[in-house]
């Protein structure tokens, strides 16, 4: 018994280190950016199931540009454009053509898995990895993405609460009919929200490939879905969404530490930890925030 307590105490103490904090930050960034992007899109009334595709295309584009130009800045910009491109397709289907938003999102995610593999094959002659690139690696405090994520969080919060676009996005997600009656274009506002949100999510993808110095097929591995859960748990409010993502990042970092510390638990179970946390939080925090009333209901 005393041994167990001592082990837990030692484990917790081991967490309180700079490297652990760095790990949390590194892990949180893609969740955070994808979820902020998703929150903006959903506030406009569109179900954003395509976050996975935005992360994946962002990651691939960042790796490809970093490989060709060696520029991290261009790689990040490219990831934003790639995310926005996915958003443009999503908008075309869901807003212009009136397709089901959930089906559109799932289709984009599946297409992203296949298309990035195909592009790997065509561009680099291998189906699962890009060549090694000069990315960001394990750096945290000197990584531009760390600070960009912080800035984008502030941008998302201010945009929703205090800008003309933000007010229109909030209105259009709630009462599209009333928004149109006020002379605001419903489709135009939604398009703007999707493009901004998707670009931010795409930047989250850049973090995935640049910290491991290369693109790996399917490296988003479900983070887009976890990010969507964070959007819901954060009640569609950017500041709360950001906090929930930080929680996910911390849970995943603890999980990684537990694996390396050797807890005796099967690693497969330990890896479940963040997802179990998501499930528990989803069930308990439900009802705290409220979904935009027009979410998923088309125009």
């Amino acid at each position: 018994m005393m041994d167990a307590v001592a082990a837990v105490v030692a484990f917790v103490a081991a967490l309180a280190t700079v490297t652990f904090v760095e790990m949390v930050v590194r892990i949180t960034v893609p969740y955070l950016l994808a979820a902020l992007g998703g929150a903006i899109t959903e506030r406009a009334g569109l179900v954003d199931l395509a976050l996975e595709a935005k992360l994946l295309f962002g990651a691939f584009t960042a790796a490809a540009i970093a490989h060709d130009t060696g520029s991290i800045a261009l790689a990040i910009a490219g990831a934003a454009v790639a995310g926005a491109a996915v958003g443009a397709v999503q908008a075309l289907w869901a807003i212009r053509l009136g397709a089901d938003q959930i089906v559109t999102g799932v289709a984009l995610n599946l297409a992203a898995y296949g298309l990035t593999r195909y592009l790997l094959q065509v561009m680099y002659g291998q189906g699962s990895n890009s060549p090694r690139i000069d990315g960001i690696g394990a750096k945290v405090w000197s990584s531009p993405l760390t600070w960009l994520a912080l800035v984008l969080t502030a941008v998302a919060i201010v945009m929703i609460a205090r800008t003309r676009l933000g007010l229109r996005v909030r209105a259009v997600g709630e009462r599209p009919d009333a928004t149109a009656a006020a002379g605001v274009s419903v489709a135009g506002t939604r398009l703007a929200a999707v493009l901004v949100g998707s670009a931010i999510a795409g930047v989250g993808g850049a973090q995935l490939s640049l910290v491991v110095n290369g693109f790996v097929a399917e490296m988003s591995s479900g983070r887009g879905y976890v990010a969507l859960a964070a959007v819901i748990m954060g009640g569609w409010r950017p500041a709360w969404v950001a906090l929930v993502c930080l929680g996910f990042g911390a849970a995943e970092a603890v999980q990684v530490r537990m694996q390396s510390a050797g807890t005796g638990l099967p690693p497969e179970l330990v890896r479940l930890l963040p997802y179990l946390l998501a499930l528990v939080l989803l069930a308990t925090l439900r009802g705290r925030g409220r979904a935009p009333a027009a979410l998923g209901r088309g125009a």
């Binding site: 205090r162 003309r164 229109r168 909030r170 009333a178 006020a182 002379g183 009333a293």
Partner: protein, 515 residues
Amino acid sequence: MSAALVMRASKRFGDRDALVDARLEVAAGTVHAVVGENGAGKSTLLKIVYGLVRADRGQLAIGQRCDLARHGVAAAQALGVGMVHQHGMLVPTLTLAENAALGHEPVRRGLLDLAAARRDLARAAARLEQSLDPDACAGALSVGEQQRAEIVMVVARAQKLLILDEPTALLAPGEVDRLLALLRRIAGDGCAVVLVSHKLDEVAEVADAITVLRAGRTVAELARGVATREVARAMVGGEPPPTGAPPPLPPADAAVVLMVRGLAVHDLSGAATLRPGAGSAGGLRQVSFEVRAGEVVGIAGVEGNGQRELVQAVVGLVPAAAGRITLGGVDMTHATVAARRAAGLAHVAEDRHHHGLVLDATVADNVMLGRLDEVARGLTIDRTRVRTLAERALADLDVRPADPSLAARALSGGNQQKLVVARELGRAAVRAVVAAQPTRGVDLAAQARIHDRLRAAAAAGAAVLVISADLDELFALCHRVAVLHRGAIAGELAGDALRAADARATLGAWMVGAA
């Protein structure tokens, strides 16, 4: 006096003529009412003025001549036209200032200038002597407050012509008076006000002139002071159906059929989670009443004060959180919908599209719904019997067209509602009737039919509970009227007190919690 609006318009929707060269002329600085039955074309005519609907043919002049082919909302707004829609166009999650700013947001250094939006709204409200809180969340206000705020916003931008579509449909009597006073004031400031309505009492009270539409045509243009009866005759194209009086009072010792004791029901609107503590009524609390055989009891109240919760709990669609419901002396608090129906409970649902009818099914199949016991033959359905039942139901309330094979969707709103009433009241052995807003959105003729059928049910010994936001309907049907306010019964009038001259004012005060 100069004309604020001069128009003639024709419009077809599919193969139906909505407007046939309908004419409307409104003088500046007056309140002008446009009246007519449902489907007469009132809303279409005014949506053309506001640019929401494009006319096929016609002319339009709003101070200056307009090109009808290119007329749109933006053009109408530029000419000083504003419209307040029947169901309100405020975004409930935004503050009043944010709602006012939407579409023409003041921006300072790239950010929303909410201080300016607040100031503009407060100034507009002060000009009309209205008090409102620019920082209040729109969804937390009463329907009347929301509407007044919306009028302030619209009038602040539209200074030549204000259009209101059925503005009093959801208001309590006291709030109606405040609204009408506000409209007079706006007209006094020189802005023409066009009021679409079918409540002739209000029209007579406030309008300087009345245009009557029937079947898409302008059939009368009347001046102030014309008797309400004349207006009604023009509306229906003949003698209006009599409004009628309640059926004879049942003997005092008639058996209690429907009894509700201490009923509490959780809020169905989700309003409590939407804005905790922000004036939400929060379902139903501690409601008790009883309805005797042959008696008609009315439940009045502004919508959202627990009516929906009460109806759904009594018919068994939602569970009671506390209390007891008995039907014919048998405890039905936890009984299923089917068991309650089997015990003789009929339900005319508030929303015929969601709870009353399967719109894509045929009229015959809709009549069969909930009456399978009457048409089942072993495991199959007796189709001839279904047809007989359907034909009987159609004849019972004169549903037109009387074709059982038609999809329910093909019927007009009034005929759909008559179909629901015919099905529910035509069942064998109806002992209690719960009728929620039984004549909402139906024309006068259909309303008279439905009222007659409800009276007949009571005369035949059923206990009838009518839930309605329309006091005229309750006066015409009920022996007793209770008022729901914030989920509890605020008061009840019966007998002479219900027939007294001040009954409307008393009920109205209870409805807004002023007593």
